[in-house]
Symmetry: D2
Subunit: 349 residues, 4 copies
């Protein structure tokens, strides 16, 4: 059940509706919107009578929601969610590129990469400091030191930092040094982590597990939203199939599907989604045309020397070409590429 308030409803009206919901034994979730406030109700199994609310002051409508996800659904909120990150925005008409190496490998590497990206007008820097790895013997990231290098890179270049938070123990440290918290594919089902991130208000980039259904991804987002954090970016990064030429099968069907089911921004990661640098550019472009709000791409100054995932990283020159293509394509998709002010990318400059 979702209660939609009139645009002229007072905060007072909202509070009374929430009280009524609690008095019936359910939980109200206030969902702010540009035009009006809505109140999601969870805990009910579909049996609530709309008439209980329709006669209340300030209530415009009471609608039942048919999907297992509620707060993140389009049924509950029709406008696109737009997320503010500093002076930049994600979602809506923006087309956003997040770029950087798989792992922070050294101070010099991340500073150099950040400067290269800044010089192209990019606004978001990715880089892993805490790396979940299949093998306990593999490089697990520079950890706290890596976070500090990211922070320094951000301060020098003005870029926003996107980095993975791997467990509840390191949430505070990672939050301190980053603007967007990434939940990796292997942690999409880590509900304890999601619950804790739901208590923050910092944006979360939530990657789809390589074995998750679209519905499960939305349910993971619902974990965040049900605790009050609506600053969620969904991210398709490839699912596991029998195909062996590519590391994963990028499921672009999921993009228009998620956009129709949910009001949240949807990103695509063509690096993990293909596992091959030569497929990154076509698949990034395809993602945008399919409706993605942004892409997250691995860029490394020297892919052959990367400590992890070099094979799926772009060199800076190839990345510049991708940026130029994205800028060219954005208007077709009804978007504008988010770049530093007055930037104009060209593949050859």
């Amino acid at each position: 059940m979702l209660i939609v308030m009139k645009s002229e409803a007072a905060q007072n009206d909202v509070e009374r509706v929430k009280e009524k919901v609690r008095s019936l034994g359910f939980v109200p979730h206030e969902i702010p919107g540009a035009q009006r406030v809505a109140i999601g109700i969870t805990g009910n199994k579909g049996g609530l009578d709309p008439n209980l609310f329709l006669s209340m002051n300030g209530v415009q409508d009471a609608v039942s929601v048919s999907k297992p996800f509620k707060l993140v659904s389009r049924e509950v909120k029709q406008e696109d969610t737009v997320i503010d990150v500093g002076a930049d925005r994600i979602g809506g008409r923006e087309l956003t590129v997040i770029a950087g190496p798989c792992s922070v490998e050294s101070r010099q590497q991340i500073l150099e990469t950040a400067e290269i990206l800044r010089d192209m007008g990019v606004r978001f820097l990715r880089g892993g400091a805490f790396k979940p790895r299949t093998s306990p013997y593999a490089f697990q990231g520079l950890k706290i030191e890596g976070l500090e290098f990211l922070k320094e890179a951000a301060e020098r270049t003005g870029l926003h930092v996107v980095t993975e938070v791997k467990d509840t123990e390191t949430i505070a440290a990672v939050s301190e040094c980053s603007d967007i918290l990434q939940v990796g594919a292997r942690n999409m089902y880590n509900f304890s982590l999601l619950e804790r991130l739901g208590e923050l208000r910092k944006p979360v980039l939530l990657k789809r597990s390589f074995a998750a259904t679209v519905e499960e991804l939305l349910m993971a987002a619902e974990y965040l939203a049900s605790r009050g954090n609506y600053n969620i970016i969904l991210c398709e990064r490839g699912i596991r199939t029998y195909e062996t030429y590519t590391r994963n099968t990028l499921d672009l069907n999921a993009v228009p599907l998620l956009k129709s089911l949910s009001h949240l921004p949807v990103f695509v990661d063509p690096s993990h989604g293909t596992g091959r640098w030569d497929l990154i550019t076509p698949m990034a472009l395809a993602a945008v045309v399919a409706g993605a709000d942004g892409v997250i791409v691995e860029v490394h100054p020297d892919p052959a020397a990367a400590l992890s995932d070099g094979f799926q990283s772009l060199r800076p020159d190839k990345f510049r070409t991708l940026l130029a293509r994205l800028q060219e394509l954005a208007p077709f998709a009804g978007r504008q590429l988010t770049l530093a002010p007055s930037f104009k990318i060209s593949a050859t400059n």
Copy 2:
């Protein structure tokens, strides 16, 4: 092993190379190109010495081929294959749309659809007369009668017909009435059928099985090519995964991958690849940006009344919008949309 002939080599030189190959116990396959002829050699396990050929008249190079597919590989032929269908062409700079209903249901339905499509400038009409169906009790198509309706529709409108050939018994009948023979996903591993189609020179639209690897699709194409039929269009139409919101998972990774591995044109079927009419348009556009040479789309004058797959068919008005979007997007992808001469689609006309 592939022998590349000089551009000035005489047919005589070619014949001598082929004779030499046979004398060594292998099979030569002459591969004509715009610039020069090449000769693929099959039957060898990599042990052939290039020097056996390099000193022969007219031979420019002898290269070993590392993939299990040879004749369809880019290694063997670098230029894109372009297929002539009447006065129209598939591949190269062309962006082609094949459209029509899943099944031919009646004379009136297919004539009406063909006229609608002709009026939009479309050049290729699809429609199933022989339908492989999971259930023996389901509608299996109008068969011979359906072929005749297709033929009549083609004669009236000038469209080229693309229709499925389901078994060897009906190859002659289907060939008689169609310009492109479609091999359905369920028949991709039907090697007896592929062998027989390899003996024809009629173009074949070869759909990837929903469980085939990219390599297996290319090996199926190799069956056709090894019998002499190089007029092959590869078609991605979705693979089977655990996802249930979509009928299949459209594997667009396969598009740039196939384009880099093979010289053959690559099409995408977003109708079967998604199973939902509302995903067809974004995924068709994404396919083009990923590098596809064309799309095959189900269009039905009245989807709700369709005998099969209505849920994944576009209504004519939605299809017109798709065409307009494709025309707008084609230059970005370095293409031009193949339409009847001097046609200019607009979503609103």
Copy 3:
């Protein structure tokens, strides 16, 4: 809809019911049983009124069938189907082993293998003469010559021959030389082939496609049954997943599931289902305990020299151990191992 006749019903009564079905515009399928006859009705969409039949002479019951497969379902026939092959039987209390090489490679190889198997009491010899292969350049079997070798092996040893029929063109030749016609996994969706085999009365071993659902396997069987051939053995042989240590994932869940959904015998192929000789024995035993009516196992006198699939073939001594284990296990599963009369296998003799 299924009409169950009384055990004392006369053939006359049966005919009258069938006539009535036809007069209503549907198709009757007579299904003989040990106790009584039943009549399946296809072509109806569930709307038939049982009362139309209940008052007729000899009719005991009229039940509606809820699954898309009818004639092969347990709902329609509760007793296990038992198939006669010469003096031997498949299904019911029998536990059957089919053994032999992947391909017939030479006269000597198949005669030697047949004699080895006969000496162990085995009754069914497998061996491919027509081999569907992913590559057009791979060994495709000895074809007609291979069939003749199989026939000679059968005549010398008294074994029954199980061999693959790859296309409609070779049905007659393959039928001539074999007792059970195998439909390979890649042909499970080849409905034209299934229709032709449905017109025969020779037993068919129908392998599940590596991408088929259990329901689709039963629908393929329904193709055979709807044409009148009820002598069907279903065979699970592994499905395709992301796992790479094994060639396929053997889906033993399918065994008790198929036994509960259908009256047909169910076999398991642990050679293809695992792709590793060292997993064949444990998985063959597991299959029997899960409810399988038999196993089909690749046995080769010299696996290292096999032209195909040597890595998943057992040597004769390992196979003898498997047989001994199966004989020991059969009573637990309520079965007896089908061997030549008065045979007693021991792993050490």
Copy 4:
């Protein structure tokens, strides 16, 4: 690299080898065995020279290990690992049954279930107190209260408790009340949790993710072992495929494969692996014949009233039949069913 010590080697010799390993910049892992000690070395990339160790006192052999998992591999330790849980043992010749409800739902429910199981001779009680659920609105378990009920049930009946630990925050509380800590399928990639559990010595039942390869499962176990906890039980519980008749596809191939790759005990969960109560018994039996050391089965006094997973739970009477069948089958698999002393199950008592 693995250093195998002589059986007569002194602890002194062992220490000197470990010191040598450290001096080379690597990490030694002492692996105790019934006959002799071994020392695994991690951190090297295969370049260590065996001669560095072969001349040292007490060293019998130095072998390189070819798989990415080392400490859990058969290469490193040939004997089966046997885990002591109180006076009971898991692994070796034991065949173990863990049974109980999906969730602890009430004090009465878990006490009643524990008593039913105790009366059948069962030694291990399962029951979830902390439940990871796809929906944030679903029942998440009784949490601490549930743990207390489990503890009381254990004290009353003498059963050992197996319960899930969902995150690092609750490790202490869960450890306090349970004898075996279960890591659920969704947490198999939660490396932070694995690291913390690796620091304990309490046995861990590690469930395979529904999308994990066999190698990834072994790498997750390696996380535990590399921190010193060798008390690991691997558990296959079904993988996710396109099949819809069953909840998951139970991959029994994994059982003999894991037994050959690793020295750890391997369990199977036929409840989650099938999702259907009617398939539990055949698949539990099949698992044992395939080589499993035990099964974990959902048993509920009243499945229809269960708060979670009732459809895949056995009623007590069906479970008694399963126990009797397992006892009958155990000798065939070279095992004895672990029951309370002098128990003799019969399906009818």
